[in-house]
Every structure is written in C-alpha cells, then in structure tokens.
Symmetry: C2
C-alpha cells in the first residue's frame, strides 16, 4: 500500500488496517475479561521523578514542555515508556479504593523518546494483564496469567501459526549460579549475560562470563551446559524433578515451577518448553518468567511474555504487594499480521448494507429504511448523493460493503443485491431480512 510516510516511528493505520487491529484487540480483551480482569487506564504522563529509576533518567523518555514556555526547560512531566511503572504507581495511589487481589488489564500506547531510526517505534500499544495481591499471592495466580497468555496465542493460531512458550524461574537460574560459586551480585550479572545468548551466542557468553566475572573454565562449562537444557511436556517435569542442587533459592524455584506446570491446562502444558537459558531482561522479576515465540516467524523475536514479581510497588507504597503479569506487544503483532498479510484486509468500514437513492426526493424514504436495518443491529449507510446506480454500487464494492439495497421510484418495492455473489433478490420484509443477516 503506497502512501506518504508519517513521522518515523509513529505508525498509523489505514481504516481497513485499523479494523484488523480492532479484531485482535477484541480477541485479546475477550480472553482477559472472561477471567474477570477489568480494564484500567492511566494518564499518558507521569512525573519525571516517577519515570526515573534511582533518581536517574536512564531510559529513552519524552519529556513534556509547554510550547509557549520553551524556556522553562524543566520537563516535570514525561510520557510513560511502559505500562508497568504507571500500573505500580496507580495501585499504590489508589490502594485504599481497590479490592485485592486486584486483577486488571490495560491497553495503552507507550512512548520511547529515541532519535528517529529505521525500524524503531517511538509510539506503540502494549496490552498488559496482571494480578496483584496483598502479602501473599499463590503460584495459582502465575498459572492463570500464563494460561491466559497461552489462550491468546492458541486463539491466534489460525493467524500466526504455532507458538512455543519458553519458561523458567529466576530462582532456579540464580540458585544454580550460587551452586557454581557466584555471589549475589555476580548472579545478577550472569543472568544479564545469559539473557544475551540469542544475540551473542555461546562463544560470546563464554567470553563475557570470563571477562566480566572472572569465572574459570569449569564454572563456565557448567553454566553453558546447564543453560543449554530445554525440555517439553512430561520430559520437562522429569528433568526438573531430577535436579538436586541444594541451594534454598534453587529448591524454591524448582518447587514453584513444578507447581506451576501442574496447574496449567494440558493444552498450555503442551506449548511450554522449560528452558534453562531463559533469563529475561527486566530487573523486577523474581519467580516464573516466560516468553512466547512464533514457530513460523522466528525473526519476530518474542510475541509476548510475563512473569512473577515481588517489589514492583515498593517505590510507591510501604506494603508487600506480590504480583504476576503478562504483556503483548500489540502494535508489533499488528505490524506482523499486516506485513505478511496474515488476515484479510478488505473491509474498509462497518457498513453491511448500502441503501441507494434514485433522487433527492427519495432520500427520506431511504433514510427510513436504513433506520429499520440499523434497528436490527445491522450497520447501514445511505449513499451521500444522487448518482447513477452503477457509481453507487461501485462505491459499495470499493469499500467492501457486501449488500446494496434498491428502492423503486414509487417507494414500494425493495430489492437487495449481494455484491460478492452477484445475486439480486426482492425483499418484502426488510426488518426480517436484516434480522436474518444479523443472526447469520
């Protein structure tokens, strides 16, 4: 589709593309709601001090300045760069008005204040779902959020093909590193190095483990061997059960992951791969972590992911509020679907019936008939001016409107043409005909 480009990194859809996005949103929202999660929305902005971590702006953030006062160069407000920080702040701020466990979903744009660069989005939608509780949140909550994420991609299977959810537990990874002799700080660093495996390969990982952490070959070999383990289904459970390290953290992680695998549905279990190399980049995860990959679109990277956290709200409120959440990069998903034509992009509007007009005198009658059709739940549009019927039909065709309705000069007889089938039929009772269309 050739068209003029907008501002780099700020994608905009044509109407028919927006309709594809809406279908995906509806599908995901239905699944989130079916489990009783409710929607919230936060402001687009946060205080800059909220967006900064440890007092420092270390992310690509857009600061807001009043255009009329560009000399006050203090950007006190900034656009959020994810939905996690706003969610944590919202929960803390409304703590006394919310009921826990608080289960919410949130579909909002996020912004990254980067320099324009090909392939880099500066505005995009994220679609998050989280459960957060006071003091204690059982592994069952992790299982539900994982199940929901798996359901989304199961429902999307006809569109994006098969998926695999790589899963691990941070405590297993860090506990294993402690077995190998790493202290707490080195464990975190090793985790960050392992997270780069896909990018830098085994060789790169070995080099970094040696250079940054001064590990010996035996330690490195053990880490490389352990993080190469990937197991699915019953095999994964057997593998986990056999692991017999003694670190308390490791054992906690192992028991959490086994419990989680025991709580998901068979369908979800069959899509899981326990993967000891999965580390995930985000700091705040403390337990289960997972990432969704699409078999047919490996270049796409992860299509979604999630995990368990404990201290997300600690900056904002002095309460223990453990949570678990999953996120889908909606705009990236829409880009994938559109760029590979994975869904039909042919209807340009909701209209199902175009009501034609023979003359301006007939318009009031055409309006009346359109209202009857709408009354049955079928979107209808009256052609906007008097033109040859051929032009009116061509308009319907171009917009992907399936039916065109004609009224004779005496306003007594109605007929409807199915544009795709090319068939035309006389209709006695337009309300009944519309009801049948609505039910079809």
């Amino acid at each position: 589709m050739k068209r003029k480009h907008g501002i780099s990194g700020f994608p905009e859809w044509l109407p028919e593309e927006k309709r594809v996005e809406k279908q995906l949103v509806t599908l995901i929202e239905e699944i989130y709601s079916s489990h009783g999660f409710t929607e919230i929305e936060t402001a687009a902005v946060e205080l800059m001090s909220t967006l900064a971590s440890k007092g420092e702006v270390d992310k690509e953030i857009y600061g807001l300045v009043r255009a009329r006062a560009l000399d006050d160069k203090e950007a006190e407000l900034g656009l959020h760069f994810d939905l996690t920080v706003p969610f944590a702040r919202y929960v803390a701020q409304n703590f006394n008005s919310l009921d826990f466990p608080f289960r919410r979903y949130q579909l909002q744009k996020v912004w990254r204040g980067e320099r324009p660069q090909k392939g880099r989005s500066r505005e995009f939608y994220q679609f998050d779902v989280d459960t957060i509780a006071i003091d204690e949140l059982p592994v069952a909550a992790d299982a539900e959020v994982l199940e929901i994420q798996s359901k989304v991609f199961a429902r999307l299977q006809p569109v994006v093909g098969n998926y695999l959810i790589r899963i691990n537990n941070r405590k297993i990874l860090l506990g294993f590193f402690s077995e190998v002799g790493l202290d707490a700080e080195a464990q975190e660093q090793a985790r960050i190095i392992i997270d780069k495996l896909d990018k830098i390969g085994e060789k790169g990982v070995r080099a970094e483990l040696q250079e940054k952490l001064a590990l010996d070959t035996k330690q490195i070999d053990r880490i490389v061997e352990f993080t190469s383990r990937k197991h699915t289904g019953a095999d994964a459970i057997a593998f986990l059960k056999e692991l017999s390290f003694t670190s308390e953290q490791f054992l906690k992680g192992k028991s959490e992951l086994l419990e989680l695998l025991g709580l998901v549905s068979e369908e979800t279990l069959s899509s899981l791969q326990v993967d000891m190399s999965l580390a995930r980049g985000l700091d705040y995860y403390t337990g289960a972590i997972w990432e969704v990959h699409l078999d047919d679109h490996s270049e796409f990277g992860s299509a979604g992911g999630g995990g368990r956290y404990e201290g997300l709200t600690a900056r904002f409120i002095n309460k223990k509020l453990p949570g678990v959440g999953a996120s889908i990069g909606l705009t990236r998903l829409v880009e994938l679907v559109l760029s590979k034509s994975l869904m039909p992009v042919d209807t340009k509007c909701p209209t199902k019936v175009l009501v034609t007009v023979l003359s301006e005198e007939q318009r009031i009658n055409s309006n009346r008939i359109a209202e009857v059709i709408r009354g049955e739940g079928v979107p209808a549009e009256v052609f906007f001016k008097t033109q040859k019927l051929g032009k009116q039909i061509a308009y319907a065709d171009k917009k992907g409107i399936p039916y065109v309705l004609f009224i004779d000069e005496n306003n007594t007889e109605i007929s409807v043409k199915d544009i795709r089938a090319g068939e035309q039929q006389s209709v006695k009772d337009i309300a009944l005909w519309s009801r049948n269309l609505a039910d079809a």
Copy 2:
C-alpha cells in the same frame, strides 16, 4: 470516593468508574458504527509546524523533548490538542488510499499544555465523527451527522435527561451582518463578539459592538434583536421562511438550514432550536453549526457540537474537500455522570461467577468448571487462594460479582448462590446454567 490525587488535570478512573466510561463509549461507538462510520487513530504527536497555525504556536501545546537530551530545546514534535488537525492531516496524507466520502470516527485523548489549574483538564478524551468528500458534499451529510449526534443524546436521555440542540448557519449570521452594513472583516469580528453573549450578556455585546466595530445604535439594535430569535419545530421553519434579506450569502445559509431541517427525523427536529445567537468559536465552520445542551445540567455548558466546514485540509493538500463533523467531550461527560452519580458505579470487574475453592487439591477441578462457564460466554474467576468460604463470598460481594459457585469435597455436586437475592440452588448442568445466564 477519597483517594490520593494524581497529577492535576490528568484524570484517572477507578476500575468501576472506567467501566462507566466504557459503557458510554460502547453506546456512542454503536451509533457511529451503525451508520457505517469506521474508526481511525492517529499518532499522539504531530510536527510542531502542523500544530502551529500560520507559523505561530498560539495554542497551549505540549512539546516533546528527549529527556536524555534536554539541551536540544527544539521541540520538533508536540501532542495534538484536538482531533481536527490530525484528521485533516491524515486525510491529506492518505488521500490516495482512502475512499470518499470518507466517513470516520475517532476516540482519542487530546492534550492541552496549560499550567496546572483547578478545574482545567490537561488530558481528556474527545469522540469525533466526520464525513469528508471530494469537491461536493450535499446537506444530506450534515443532516446525517446531526442526526447521529442527536441519537447519542436521545439514547443517553435516561442518564443525563433531556437535551436541546441549538442550531444556526454561519452564512445566515454573516449574511445578516452584511445586511446591517458590516464588511467581511467586521462580520467575523461581530461573530466572535456574539459568541461571547452567554459570558458577557447583552450589555457586554452592545459595548463591544460599539467599541470594536464602531457600530451605531440602530445597527446594534438590529443585531441584538436578530440574535435574540430562538424558534423550535414548525415555528422555526416558519421563522426562517419569512426572513427576507437579500444578501446572497444569507439566502444560501437560509436554504441550507431549511434543507437540513427537512432531512432530519421528527425526533431530532423536536430537539432542535434554531438560535440566531449561536456563533460557535471555531474558525473553520462555514455552514451549519450546532451545540448540544442538557436541560438538567445547564452549568455543564455544551455537551457536544458540530458543523460544516470547507477548507479544513487546505493547509495540507491542494484539493477541495468539504466536510461535516460532530464531537463529544467524552471525559467531561464521564465526569458529569460520576460527579452526579447518574449511572450505577458498583461492579468492579466483569466477573459474573466466582468459583470457590475448598482446598488447593480442588483447584484444578474449579479451573475446569470455570472454563465451562467461560465457554458459554460468561466471565468467571476462580478464587485465588484457599480461604474460608465466608471470605470468598465477601470478596465477591465487595467486587459486585453476582454469583458464587460451590463444589462439594467429592467434586460431584455444584451449587450456585445468587448474592443479591440471597438464594442458593443446586446445579446439575453448569453449561446449561451458564448459557441461560448469558442469554438473560
């Protein structure tokens, strides 16, 4: 509802309030779609040069600066302050990919880069609907958009009470001013003065007409008399027909308004008041203009408005693209509904059935039953941990979940309690029970 305040001017809703907003959005969206209008969404940002008018930033705009580079004080991008400028830019940019008449609706946040001030929103939703055509757009399009706006408030009548749509035509107003002897520039100035009638009163209007335009008492008397005319229904049509000024512009406006009144439904006509004082502030209107007022909430100002324009896209493309549009200040409407408790704010989540758990061993069975319920289209939630049943029921009650489901220890018998009615019944076929609930 007491809670900590967020950032002034950036309203955020609690989950149950967000659900009220969603109901209003759904209602409006249904009406827009039923006429075949399709949704588009533009980026939150525009080039600052796009947002500036005639090269000057004369609005309250938030400019974006990269927080890591706050010294580049050139804000090249800014957040849109309405949906009109982005819509015009979008139509021009995608001109070759759109089918005309292009009929779209758009629900997005807009931002005003103002100093924080009580009662001033700096972020809020607008909900716009427009038809735009190439070269020529008949008055029928105005009638449809007006009809749609009227339908929204007719559907909202049980919530916000009766409404009145004040309507005029810019050409009538300007044409009348020319009858009184004003040149084109003075006509525009007189329009701006008349628009302030509600604020400054007749006395203020008289003073400004004299001071700013140096009109004589006779001219001022004529203007004040003419703009005091307000007529409804058949009376309005008779009033318009009798007006016999000779200015071409006036006659064009009169015939457009009469045609418009002839094309709307009787219900809409009965809600219209032809009001010669209605001028509206926005520059770009050229024909019909209207504003919606709520009888029971006169302090609220206008709840919506719209009008006909010709040159909206002229800055962006060298084509004649006349259009007509209407807008609803959604966030303001939600604020009205919430502040006056016009809709029930009691359900805090979509869940219809809370499935309880007697023990963690039972959870898998509870999950299975919840899946059956969801399969019938009924949102269901399994309680997140094992607690006394009384606590699980209390949770459902607090969240506004209407049904609580119990399973006996042997996982063989199911019963459901209707929390509001206080009745409990045994259920043999949970799928059937759920289907009935979904259909109810």
